[in-house]
Subunit: 139 residues, 2 copies
DNA sequence: GTGATTGCAAATCTTTTGCACTAAA
DNA sequence: TTTAGTGCAAAAGATTTGCAATCAC
């Protein structure tokens, strides 16, 4: 039993055809090593440094954008001036805690969109984002 | 007939208890004078200057945030690094044209959310945003 | 008058870029 | 080797801030 629950970072990068450099390996491990995450670039950079991995912020951005482009990650925009990157690529939505600037997944099946408009002529739907913005009870 | 279709800027500001300064009057007129708008701060500033209204960008931001706080406006975040302000406060949603960085309203009745999760304990739902991201057909 | 509002310029914050250096294949 | 990847520091954008000057009441 006890099969390895996550794809090793090396395999992820190989499949993505990205060179498994020391930095990318470390970042990939942090991102995909332990369940799903919502991180900002700054956060990820901080975690890497905390784990004694020397990486520049520029490389963190490069890596995040590469993973995003390859659909291993998705960028979630809920706040002006800061992006979050979500490692959960399954169809799902988000709670956004405005008071704490924190995201939390809502499984796809808990949101039922029983009607959506046709996309305007010449366009197709790339994604439908549902963000449930929540805040403290008392105000 | 031909009743005035929009609330005059002066009345809007009075109701909001904001001093009707020259700048605020002009911005309010641009924002609410002719149907609903989706504008960035930079855009609004440009339109004001084009209309020969001397306003600083700082004042544009001040005013937008004041109107947002007073619920005369709502900030829509769909893209990292730029905010849009939507003068339509009716319940509705948005198309976002990724290729043109443009927003378009979707009337509330065209999106049916027939299931939504309970907000986590201690929180209440402030808003539910649905963004349908569309792009060109051909790619 | 006097307190709110404004403008300006500087500061801040996130993200991007240019380019010389380093490392994977 | 050869070319992708990295780090650094500078640049770019959007937004915010501090404070003296100005305006509405």
């Amino acid at each position: 039993m006890t099969a390895r629950p996550f794809t090793p970072a090396l395999d992820i990068l190989k499949q993505a055809k990205l060179r498994p450099t020391r930095q990318r390996l470390a970042l990939t491990r942090i991102l995909f090593g332990r369940g799903h995450r919502h991180v900002s670039a700054e956060q990820l950079h901080g975690e890497a440094l905390a784990a004694n991995v020397r990486v520049s912020l520029a490389t963190v951005y490069n890596t995040l954008h590469q993973l995003n482009r390859l659909s291993l990650l998705r960028e979630v925009v809920v706040e002006p001036g800061r992006s979050y990157f979500d490692t959960n690529m399954a169809d799902h939505h988000h709670f956004y805690f405005e008071d704490h600037a924190r995201l939390e997944d809502i499984p796809a099946e808990r949101v039922i969109l029983s009607a959506l408009p046709e996309p305007p002529a010449g366009t197709r739907v790339r994604r439908v984002d549902v963000v449930v913005r929540v805040g403290s009870d008392k105000d």
